[in-house]
Symmetry: C2
């Protein structure tokens, strides 16, 4: 492999699994998004702009993070009048957990040498 680095489309060079795990990991790759997820889990009744109150970020920035979490599938959102309501997508987390577990299992039976 690696003549002129194979394909022009880098994304396609990796497996579907690798891409999916990377996408999900990316959703967790910012402390603000982790804080949002924790807050959504804490109040099991869904919240909306209350998240903004809790985070040290501007409303538009929080909105952006919420969008990313939603696009990754980790949260669900619904509109209630002028307010909007988000919550944990339980099924997605279960799936995420499964993918991670499988991944970690691979690393488990490798005895390092360094």
């Amino acid at each position: 492999m690696n003549l002129l680095h194979m394909s022009t489309n880098k994304k396609e060079a990796f497996t579907q699994e690798e891409q999916e795990l990377a996408e999900l990991a990316k959703a967790l790759a910012h402390p603000a998004r982790i804080a949002i997820l924790k807050e959504l889990a804490r109040r099991n009744v869904c919240i909306c702009g209350e998240i903004v109150e809790v985070l040290p970020l501007a409303q538009s920035t929080v909105s952006q993070h919420l969008k990313e979490l939603q696009q990754a599938g980790l949260i669900k959102g619904s509109v209630d009048g002028v307010k909007s309501c988000y919550c944990i997508n339980y099924e997605a987390f279960k799936r995420f957990e499964g993918i991670l577990e499988k991944f970690f299992r691979i690393t488990e039976n490798s005895q390092g040498c360094c």
Copy 2:
């Protein structure tokens, strides 16, 4: 909170735990790094430039990814002559698993509303 967005240093606004999880997740947030980790685990004898052979990326780019994984603590490296050898840091993965498990547990007992 949130008057002028609190502190000027955004990083400090989140907990140590949130930051650590975000850092670890970021290390997984690229398919190339996942592929590298899988390859390191597959050959349980450590490899080095053989990783470059397997990935559709330039040598310098792979080297960069290896550095990031090492900085995140997920892999260990050692030099053997002109070659350099990397391997899975088993303890780090165990720790990572623990942190994730704790995090997922929080999300588990939240019944969504959307």
